[in-house]
Every structure is written in C-alpha cells, then in structure tokens.
Symmetry: C2
Subunit: 286 residues, 2 copies
Amino acid sequence: MKLALIGVGLIGGSFARAVRAAGRVRHIVGFDTQPEALHRALELGVIDELAASAASAVEGADLVMIATPVGSIEAVLSAIAPRLSRSAVVTDVGSTKTAVIEAARAELGIAFDRFVPAHPIAGREHSGVEHSDPALFRNSVCIITATAGTGASAIRQVELLWRDLGCRIEHMSAEDHDRVFAAVSHLPHLLAFAVVAQIASDPDAERRFAMAGPSFRDLTRIAASSPSMWTEICMSNRSAISDELRNHRQLLDKLQRALDEGDAGTLRQVFSQAATASRQGSDAID
Amino acid sequence: MKLALIGVGLIGGSFARAVRAAGRVRHIVGFDTQPEALHRALELGVIDELAASAASAVEGADLVMIATPVGSIEAVLSAIAPRLSRSAVVTDVGSTKTAVIEAARAELGIAFDRFVPAHPIAGREHSGVEHSDPALFRNSVCIITATAGTGASAIRQVELLWRDLGCRIEHMSAEDHDRVFAAVSHLPHLLAFAVVAQIASDPDAERRFAMAGPSFRDLTRIAASSPSMWTEICMSNRSAISDELRNHRQLLDKLQRALDEGDAGTLRQVFSQAATASRQGSDAID
C-alpha cells in the first residue's frame, strides 16, 4: 500500500511510523506546509519521499491521511480532490468532525464516499515529528464518525488499520462527537487558557507563578498547548463549545453566589459530585 | 525537642517524619479526631505516643504543629490554649492564612506572639498518613505570614525547621498570601470541580468520561481532591476567591462573545498569553 501523509506533526508522524511498524505500507510520501518539518520527517525515516504539494503527494496513493491542524483540512481537500486515484481512501485525524465532513462533502465530489472521518484520542505534551512514536495510539480509542454517504469498505479499511495500531474503535455521529469533545476537551482547554491568561495579566503575575503548586502545574501543562491549533479547534466547533461554556457559566454563577453568601452546602455538593466522578473515572481509565 | 502533632494526615505525617529524619525532635505526641489515622501513625512510627485530646497532646511540648484541615484550626487553638507551656511555639500548615491568624489572635491570648502562621507548598495526589513522605517538602517553598505581633525568635525557630526540611522560605502578609493562593490554587480547584461536576450531571456522562483524553485526566486528578477539605478552604478564603472568580467570569464573558461572533483574534490572543506564560512558568518551576 502506498500512503500519502499530509501533515507530518506528532500525530501524522506517529501514524506513519505505526503503520510502517505494523507492515501495512510499502511506501510513504509526505507533504507539509512547513518545509523544515517535512525534511526532518524524511531524515528520521518517517516518510520515504517528500512531495512538492499536497496534490502531487496523493498521486497514485491508496490511502491519504490528512493530519494537519483542523483549520487547514478544507484547503487540503480542495487541493487533493482533482488528483486522487479512483480507489483512494481518504481519512483524517481532526479533533472536530462536523466541519471536516462539510468540507469533504463540498470538496471531494464523488470521492466523498471514500472519505472516512476519524479522531484518535491520543496526544503528547510536545508536538512535532521529532516526538512521534509508533506506540502513541496503543490502548487508545479511535472514533469514526461515518455518514450515511460513507462507503462500507472504506470504513472497514480505516477501522482495520487503527485496530492494527492498538486502538479500540468507537462509532458515533459527527454531531455527537463534537458535543462530547466540546465538553471533555475543547471547553477544558479554553478554561485552562483563561485561568492562566488571567494570572499572566495580573501586575503580580511573576510572584503568582512562582508560588504555584503541583495542581497548578497540571493546568499550565494544558495551557501550554498550541494557541493556533486550539483557536482553530474552537472556531471549528464553536457552536457546541459555546453551548457548553454557557452551561459552565451558569454553574459558576451558582458557585459565586455560594461564596458570597457563605453557603458551604452548595460548594460541598458540587465538589463531591466532581470528586466522586473523577475517582470513578480514573479507575475506569487506568 | 518535644513535638505535639495535631492532625496526622499526609502533611502532618510527612512533617513528623521529616523533622525526625533531620534529628530535630526527641519525642512526637500525636492527636487526630480520626482514631484510625492516629493508630496508623503510631504503628508506622510516625508518632511515638498518642494523646487522648489536642489539649493533652500539647502538654510539655516545645513545638506544636497544627496540621488539620483549615476548618478545624480554630477549635484546635481554643482547645490547646489553656494547656500550652510558657515557651511553646505554635505553628500550622493551613492553606489560608487570614482566617487562621484571626482565630489565633482570638484564642491564644498572650501566646499569640509565639504563633507562627506557615504554609508549605507541597501535596500529593493521595492523602493520609500512609502516604506521608519525609522528602515531601524538599525543594518546596514554605510561606511564613507573620504579623506585627509575632515574636522574632518564634519566627526564626520555625524558619530554621522548614529550611532543614529542604524548603526555601518566603515571607508575605496573610492578605497577600490569600490573594495569591485564591488565584493560583483555590480558584483553579473550584473550576476543575465545576468542569467535572458539569460533565457528571450530563445524561451522557458515562460516555463523556470514557472519551476523555490525557488533558482531561489532569483535570480529574485535581477534581479528585477532598471535597470537604476544599469546601473548608473556599469558605476560609471566600472573599479573595470570590474576587478572582468575578474576574474570571468577565474573561469568560469575553470568550463566549468571541465564540458566538466567530472572533478568532480574541481567542488567539488569550490562548497565546496563557501559552507563553505557561511555557515560561514551567521552565522556571522545573
């Protein structure tokens, strides 16, 4: 199988190394808008060949993996559509799915039935192909958000591939996916950014950061994520995130009242609900 | 030196083991309102003797360490005040300081000048004396929030002790301390509890938790903290936390508008400010 990899960052690079290690590909052609990343991927042996454009990368490819930031997926689809071979399966790893599917429907034409929208739940603190790891997806969940128009054999092919890399497959609708991830990923990132930005804009910021304990370091780890990647994710899923944020602000209104009125019972009730769920959740995850 | 340890949890237990390892104490008497924790501390050799009450624990002690949850400190001070020896130094490890100092002023009478309010910035995911560790405070900061009425020799004694345990000492006013920790610890905990409680109360909670990625696990680790301990901390520092929460809600209003209006620039600006500070902060901390 010949793989075209568009976007050679942490996720794309890890995917390429993992499918190669699994013996699933013969040849990998890569493209990235950042020439340095692309050359680094070639040097590291993550890809076998570099292409001058996304369009030329997909020529003759059996599988096209789009692993760019979500904000670039539409442009990639538009560029590759005319050059796809007739049987090529196209898939992606974007963190939001409704907008990606809309773009695919608009750009791919008759090839839309060979587009399999997917989202492997994996990541690392450090981005870039130099941190890519063929074991990144082992014991992870990969979500496939196929539509009524997605062909069964394309779905099966992408499913098998991710299973080979150690993933459990979950199927859901793109709308469900985007609502779930607005709640468990996108809003938490937005809030971590907000907490840290608030402290950073305080006149006493330096001392405040110097006093931070271990819990705060967990937050700053989240808030150290790529601002441009997260801006694109938020823009791409803004309606679901906006709904979650609205609910969150209502809960904060309640907690503010509890603080101002000295209402310990409300604080304890909310904290207990969270602690119970967190402890059950971490048992389930580990 | 004879040490009375009131409260034998993770912090109290770690303190006892650390001062013993440093050769600073001859005998440790412990008391805790939870008899199981107290017996466990004796079995583990964290304390040498158990007392029937806080009052009897402090008899003949040179140093009294109060390591209970902040909500119990006032009652402990009230109980021990009549039984303190004339030269005993009293100190604590409470996460909030203004309320603790007010309680000490009200309860300790002439012994108030020997009360040294302190807060070592250390913790672990798991609480309880069985997780206590004599190295817990190494390379940490210990904040001392002495008042104009605190005696210099008592301050020096407590400072030397924490330095022996590997801490760097910072002095600040209780009001400054409480404002700083409202921002970098208390509000972040309250928000982590709020995010997780919101997901837990969703009809789709189980699936949402099952889909959570690595960043969300950092949040649930924070939200797995003791609800009663954090309710007490929030109640004890509610005015400063309320101020920080009010500022935070204003920032969320702005982010909600940005989402609703598709204003990527505002999102990127807030996210970038946070990411820059987080990356600098983690360099400074590590």
